[in-house]
């Protein structure tokens, strides 16, 4: 059946793209503020439809056990000559992307008030979202590259949204230069791999590795370039230098999007490359890369200690979280539940990051900067939002009973099981450093009183309030119901 074979598996991606195109058309007809409600509805409709399609498709996709083993998948889920694979991993990540998109749209609508180009922002977000979906489901190196570009190009624009703000422009330029450099590295790696193996299919390359360990300089160079490209995209040290500037300069709701959805897509890419293509060679790369991730964790945590701006603080903390996540990618080879642990971590971290940046947008709305002092007294002035922030901070620090602890624990025990003992010890010890700076934020939130009355935080718009509350409750819900286990 033609519908079955062609449209259904890609329907989650198509619904995002369709919504974006409709938005652009709408914008040409109803310019500016007119019909804003309708435009928002269309924008929200994209991810909602996408989530609906994914939830219908997931039971089918779950038949394929792991990312590596697609033989049991119904063949019609493998689209375009295996360039697009809707397996269990992509299903789970599609859901997360759709959900993160919804929250981002709500936060953008609530907090980027006075922005003329809101519809374009919606459209760009939706395009980036479709790029992410294609990225995490790519089964072919060329597809991987195209999806990465589709995801990155709209993001560069989104970062530079505040044209008159020097910071924003700097951030956009930096992000663009670093990002395109990373893409170049990826293209070069793809070229080298194609030259070596004559195929672009991930599964085909992986099949070749099963029989022999490649030793050629070109292949090794390709691996190195792949690692660098992925490192850039997910913000691993030493490729992390763009992260703090881009996260700080971007409009705050957009930063939330970058830290949650784009990070998730980046790790989707990492899982496809390391957990699927290079998995047969896991013995060769697991240990060196685990030190790489421990290095990232330390760099992120140590640099975060010195920050005085909340956005930069969370940028560095997101670097250290990337390190933990990468530890999960490394244990894909040696531990049966590493994929579940990774999905759990990505969900939890994405929600906590989105919630935090929703809150920060609210604080920023009134006060224009995000020094720590701006939080003084917030905890008691706005009890519900303050409590949510407390949950996000505890979760980011990995303190039970919040979900952040469970996500960290699952990753660490998987890594320990896969034999990376030293790295686990170091990673766990490093979270002590992390706790210190999160506690400093908590101390501003609750333990210092606000100086003057004018320092108060405005009431949050209803939709945004609900969004933040949802993220906060998720921090508790996920710890009682560890969904992926």
């Amino acid at each position: 059946m033609i519908i079955n074979e062609f449209l259904v598996p890609v329907s989650p991606v198509l619904s995002l793209m369709l919504a974006a195109v409709v938005l652009i058309v709408l914008e040409t007809v109803f310019k500016g503020e007119r019909g804003q409600a309708g435009k928002l509805l269309v924008a929200l409709g994209g991810p909602l439809l996408s989530i609906l399609f994914v939830s219908l498709l997931v039971p089918v996709a779950n038949a394929g056990s792991l990312a590596t083993d697609n033989s049991q998948l119904p063949s019609w889920l493998m689209e375009f000559k295996n360039s697009y694979q809707l397996d269990r991993l992509s299903g789970a990540l599609f859901l997360a992307i759709g959900f993160f998109m919804l929250l981002t749209l709500v936060f953008v609508e609530s907090f980027l008030t006075g922005l003329k180009e809101k519809t374009e922002v919606f459209a760009l977000l939706l395009f980036a979202g479709s790029g992410m979906m294609l990225l995490v489901s790519a089964g072919n190196l060329l597809m991987l590259f195209m999806a990465l570009e589709l995801m990155s190009l709209p993001t560069y624009i989104l970062v530079g949204l505040r044209k008159n703000d020097l910071r924003s422009s700097e951030a956009a330029l930096k992000y663009f230069l670093y990002g395109s450099f990373a893409t170049v590295l990826l293209v070069f790696a793809i070229a080298l791999l194609y030259g070596q193996f004559g195929t672009l299919q991930l599964n085909a390359i992986s099949g070749l590795f099963k029989s022999q360990v490649p030793t050629g300089v070109a292949t090794l160079a390709a691996f190195g370039l792949l690692l660098a490209a992925i490192g850039f995209k997910v913000g691993m040290a030493p490729y992390h230098l763009w992260v703090p500037d881009a996260y700080q300069g971007a409009p705050t709701p957009v930063t939330g999007f970058m830290g949650s959805a784009i990070k998730l897509a980046g790790f989707g890419l990492a899982i496809r490359v390391f957990g699927q293509t290079l998995l047969p060679l896991v013995q060769e790369w697991a240990t060196p890369l685990s030190y790489f991730s421990v290095f990232t964790i330390f760099v992120g945590n140590l640099a975060a200690l010195r920050q005085t701006d909340l956005k930069r603080l969370f940028a560095y903390s997101s670097i250290s979280h990337a390190g933990y996540l990468f530890l999960g990618v490394i244990s894909l080879g040696g531990s049966p539940q590493a994929l579940e642990a990774l999905q759990y971590y990505l969900w939890v971290y994405g929600l906590l990051f989105l919630g935090t940046f929703g809150l920060l947008s609210l604080v920023e709305m009134h006060k224009k900067n995000l020094e720590f002092d701006r939080l003084n007294g917030l905890g008691f002035q706005r009890p519900v939002l303050g409590f949510c922030f407390l949950l996000f901070l505890l979760s980011a620090a990995g303190i039970p009973p919040t979900a952040g602890f469970f996500s960290k624990y699952f990753i660490l025990i998987q890594a320990f099981q896969s034999g990376q003992r030293l790295s686990v010890v170091l990673a766990a010890m490093s979270s002590l450093i992390g706790v210190f700076y999160y506690l400093r934020v908590i101390s501003h939130l609750y333990m210092k009183s606000a100086g003057t009355a004018e320092a108060s935080v405005p009431r949050a718009p209803k939709a945004a309030f609900l969004g933040i509350l949802l993220c906060g409750l998720a921090m508790i819900y996920f710890s009682f119901v560890p969904v992926f286990f």
């Binding site: 009890p383 039970p400 602890f405 624990y409 766990a428 609750y446 333990m447 210092k448 009682f480 286990f485």
Partner: protein, 506 residues
């Protein structure tokens, strides 16, 4: 029945805290007190329902799957080790709440913190799943740092951060030990579990891997360091004076009476069963450290000008004695330690309560501001003398029973230790009497003190209850000891099998 009580002790306070969060500010204190009294009332059937003749078995077992893939369950149960501490927690909670009655800054959040803390503390004692224990153990820190950091005195934020970082550092070591146990069990049996009794069957390799220590030693030290920070044992005690002095009265009471007990409880429940051979090897080292702590705590306490600091350092000294009792590895020492754990909770809790009473009225904890109170507030003075006597182990009161047994056991294990330990008891009398002399006796030095009010019913009732327990344990400790006798008698025979027969469904 028992299971229902255990679950309610864990869950009720959290429900109470949510009610306070949603309810009006006026009712916050009353709701908190009502919930805490309800928990206290529940512990009466718990006392009578607990079968003291059974050892090596958890009673009132609850077990709900939580993360099946990793063998983690929400499992609660009670045995002779946790039984007295659970009761102590329920007893001290209403007292801490009454001591905090006058706090005007955000009373809703304040009361909610107490209830949540109580929930987590009870859970820590009741958990029979190692992972659940860790979750409660860590979660407990959150309400505690909020209590210290939000409602404390001048240097509260520093004290709160220090408290958190010290305990968290210890906890991370414990987490690594826990992970090691889980993974070793998995490699030996092929399944994951977090059940304590199952995990004691893990055989850890004896091959030295780091500085001559083998894996069992590392697991042992991972647990032990976490617990010794909490105890706190010299030289890991530096967070304690800061935390105690800065914490609000109610926080200090719970910190001293319950939180510190988790250290010694953890040693008995986890460190020793999981590393019994390592413990035998390192017991002398720990004993020496606790002797140093006993003397050091006593000397420093003697030098203090601040009442709360004096009580805080006295805790270092007293808990050193408790750890010493465990290090003797004999029945007398162990029994003494377990009793002394409770005694210290009662007497130090009461001391903090009384210091807080003065501080609420005069906003000073310095000896120089007091003196001659005996003539001004006689009832207060009466209770302070009584509590002080209990703290310095006057015969007839609870402290004597515990210290006597510990010293007996210590003498049996090593007479030299006992000789030094006795010195600690003597110095204990010295600083406690100094406390009495400088506050209660002598001439009235400050005229502001003449307007001090004596105890009202809100202070008298808790003090009478505490005093009754002090007398009861002092005169007839059997009511407590008999409930845990078999557990203690079997403890040293084979610690790792202490839970082997636990009634947990597999």
């Amino acid at each position: 029945m028992m299971s229902a009580i255990l679950v309610s002790l864990c869950v009720l306070p959290i429900i109470g805290a949510s009610l306070i969060f949603l309810g009006p500010e006026k009712l916050a204190r009353k709701t908190a007190l009502a919930v805490s009294l309800l928990c206290l009332a529940l512990s009466i059937p718990l006392y009578f329902g607990f079968d003291g003749t059974q050892s090596q078995i958890f009673q009132g077992v609850v077990s709900i799957p939580w993360v099946p893939a990793l063998g983690i369950k929400f499992a609660l149960g009670i045995d002779g080790l946790s039984f007295p501490l659970v009761l102590l927690t329920q007893l001290m909670l209403p007292i801490a709440i009454l001591a905090s009655w006058h706090e005007e800054r955000n009373p809703k959040a304040f009361m909610a913190c107490f209830l949540v803390l109580s929930s987590f503390m009870t859970g820590t004692f009741l958990a029979t799943d190692l992972f659940l224990f860790y979750v409660f153990w860590e979660a407990m820190l959150i309400p505690m740092i909020l209590l210290i950091g939000v409602w404390g005195s001048q240097e509260r934020i520093y004290a709160a951060l220090k408290f958190f970082l010290f305990t968290f550092a210890g906890s991370l070591l414990m987490l690594l030990a826990v992970v090691t146990l889980f993974v070793s069990y998995k490699t030996q049996t092929g399944v994951m579990t977090a059940d304590i009794s199952e995990l004691t069957k893990v055989v850890l390799s004896k091959e030295p891997i780091l500085f001559g220590l083998n894996i069992q030693d590392l697991v042992f030290w991972g647990f032990t360091l976490a617990f010794l920070v909490k105890v706190p044992l010299f030289p890991l005690h530096t967070w304690l004076p800061d935390a105690h002095v800065q914490a609000p009265t109610g926080g200090s009471i719970l910190l001293a009476a319950v939180l510190l007990k988790m250290g010694t409880y953890g040693l008995l429940r986890f460190s020793i069963p999981f590393g019994s051979e390592s413990f035998s090897r390192f017991a002398p080292l720990i004993a020496v450290l606790s002797l140093v702590g006993i003397l050091y705590g006593a000397f420093v306490a003697f030098q203090q000008q601040d009442m709360k600091k004096l009580v805080a350092y006295s805790s270092v000294s007293h808990l050193g004695l408790v750890v010493l009792g465990i290090c003797t590895q004999n029945l007398e020492g162990l029994t003494g330690s377990v009793i002394q754990n409770i005694n210290h909770g009662l007497s130090t809790g009461a001391l903090f309560f009384m210091v807080g009473f003065l501080y609420d009225q005069r906003h000073s904890r310095l000896f120089s501001d007091y003196g001659g109170l005996a003539a001004l507030i006689p009832w207060y003075s009466f209770f302070l003398v009584l509590v002080a006597c209990s703290s310095m182990a006057v015969p007839g009161l609870n402290g004597f029973v515990g210290e006597m047994l510990i010293l007996l056991g210590t003498f049996e294990a090593n007479p030299w230790w006992a000789g030094i330990g006795v010195l600690g008891v003597v110095f204990g009398a010295l600083y406690t009497l100094t406390l009495l002399k400088k506050t209660l006796f002598g001439p009235v030095t400050a005229n502001e003190n003449r307007s001090l009010k004596d105890l009202s019913w809100r202070e008298t009732v808790p003090l009478i209850i505490l005093a009754l327990f002090m007398l009861w344990i002092g005169l007839a400790p059997g009511f407590l000891i008999n409930k845990m006798k078999p557990t203690l008698e079997n403890y040293w025979k084979k610690p790792q099998s202490a839970y082997a027969m636990s009634g947990n469904p597999k």
